[in-house]
Symmetry: C2
Subunit: 357 residues, 2 copies
């Protein structure tokens, strides 16, 4: 069968070797003649998986000793709540940078046990830029940001550096570029973009945030519960953790963040250059805030959309439809997407211009 160029925004493309190894583990894991998913999570074979996954995260992101790494459940949506519970201090108030729908949902959860303060929002222009030059004030316990906004194709290029603890939902661009972990007190990220399949959520936390919340926290939402049990307080999502480990092994193998950042830059330059060059298309995001993960664009003449979509289909380009709240197209170019797939898309865009030019 023809290769599909998978632009799905998440769950999304992962490396082919990861699919092969994950599939094998379901039938016979570690030559035990047992499936990965039928062994005890307390067995040495699985404990080794969890430990390797955690240690690959630390190694790839260059995480200092005073941080801990967890693989939990619930998605970033439960992370909104978990983050707020664990970060509330004397003000019982979190500051939120509202750069998209997920950021807005994160802010909402802080009102459950405390209060959220909207530091800045780009909702007035349908989130097509990242607000800058805002004032945090002196009445918040932490500052929450969303590093990449899949729906709107924007990305934070420079993170806040200051005294207020920084919390980041990094679901859609973690492991795509180098970051300085010291800038953050808490990072959480659903796995299903650059790390693995849906079903596990990564938490990276500075150890000294633990035990300092000023609000009572239910057992499962208290990060201390999980750090004390090495991310095995209850049965972990075995398959999602294993497949994340495989993806991280792949990333390390190709050269880690140095290598992938370069490749991701090449891919996003390819598509943005074409969007800017091609008179038939327009980008939707503010140029300086453009995401290197999700490029959002529209056809200037909507009458061409049927033809363009037929051409995409003929070229085996899948998952390019934009989110309903933006419309148009969204090219999600996560780590595992080869440059070749972006070239195929760009060729289709060029071809449409040749036809119509």
């Amino acid at each position: 069968m023809a290769k599909v160029h998978n632009y799905s925004a998440g769950p999304c493309i992962l490396p082919k070797e990861v699919f092969q190894k994950a599939a094998k583990s379901i039938e016979n894991f570690n030559d035990l003649n047992l499936s990965l998913i039928e062994i005890s999570h307390r067995s040495k074979d699985f404990v080794d998986v969890m430990e390797e996954a955690r240690s690959l995260v630390k190694e790839i992101l260059n995480i200092p000793e005073n941080y801990d790494v967890l693989f939990l459940q619930g998605g970033a949506s439960l992370g909104f709540l978990t983050a707020a519970y664990n970060m509330m201090r004397s003000h019982k108030r979190g500051g939120y940078l509202v750069t998209g729908s997920w950021a807005k949902k994160a802010a909402k959860e802080a009102n459950f046990m405390g209060e959220s303060k909207i530091i800045a929002s780009s909702e007035d222009t349908n989130f097509n830029y990242i607000p800058k030059g805002y004032d945090l004030g002196d009445d918040i316990d932490y500052f929450h940001v969303t590093s990449n906004n899949t729906i709107f194709g924007t990305q934070i290029k420079e993170f806040y550096k200051g005294e207020i603890p920084l919390v980041c939902d990094m679901s859609s661009d973690i492991f795509s570029r180098k970051i300085n972990i010291d800038d953050f007190d808490l990072i959480y990220a659903g796995a299903q973009k650059n790390m693995g399949p849906a079903g596990t959520t990564l938490y990276i936390l500075k150890k000294d945030i633990l035990g300092n919340s000023t609000v009572p926290i239910p057992t499962m939402l208290n990060l201390k519960t999980h750090t004390e049990k090495d991310s095995m307080f209850n049965t972990p999502p075995v398959f999602a953790v294993y497949t994340s480990m495989l993806t991280l092994q792949w990333l390390k193998g190709i050269g880690g963040l140095d290598a992938i950042e370069k490749i991701n830059m090449e891919k996003s330059n390819l598509i943005y250059n074409e969007i800017d060059r091609n008179p038939l298309f327009s980008g939707t995001a503010n140029v300086e805030d453009r995401s290197n993960m999700n490029a959002t664009f529209t056809l200037n003449d909507h009458n061409l959309s049927n033809e363009f979509e037929q051409m995409l289909n003929d070229a085996n380009v899948s998952g390019l439809k934009g989110h309903r709240s933006v419309g148009g197209y969204r090219a999600s170019m996560y780590n595992a997407m080869p440059k070749e797939s972006v070239e195929v898309l760009v060729d289709v865009m060029k071809e449409l211009t040749t036809k119509k030019g």
Copy 2:
């Protein structure tokens, strides 16, 4: 390689055809030339999986129209909290039958937003029986029970029938026997015993419990959030839901609960008959409360344990070690375990007696 007789208490054995189909889906799902785990959860292909999984649950358990079915994340441990949040009414108090470690943890979470009242407990004898003849009083909003206690090998044979809403953690014996859904207002169950791999949690709820809690509920813990979005409020744990669907297809295919209840009874009779007959072994659970899923027993003479364990090993019997809080052995005989594997275990027990008799 020799067949392994997998007695793991959970995650645990699933049908071989489920492993084969699940593995295939990781490399090429529905002949899309894409992996199950790289497609959008909003694609028709995955929405169909979620809908088939939910509808198989309804069909197999004979669930009436006034109930809804959800596949969420977080395990039963998050279910403890979710159940309490959703069931609190005017008393702001839940009644708990404490029949094991998990029941005790469930009761603890109710104290977060309300109060738990211990209706009865068997902790005084290390949970080796199911308390009966208790009085619920008139000051609780719901009555919470744990249908099967994996660690202690006990199981509730008759459920409470009365006016007070019944909530049940059915993680370790759901789909193992016929139950009357009308007896329950809310059932939750981690998938990793009879339903699928670790990573998803099943909720079965009477629709009229929704929206009636007297305490505020965070978004992700409010069951209404999820029923309103057909179990797709946020990205579901795709692989765990798909593999659960495959396991439910298998269960339906072999004849559903009528068939499996009979097989499970045969398997548990085999092992309990041997435990009672064989002078070298003793069961640890009260006879009338014995679980048909997990048979717990000890060697009367601990000096024989090395020899017994070597014989188990030679026979490829795996995962029989009892939980540390009970010791001895635990034979977990979930739906997918063939009767043949129980016969192998019983043969080893008989052989030990012949040697030592």
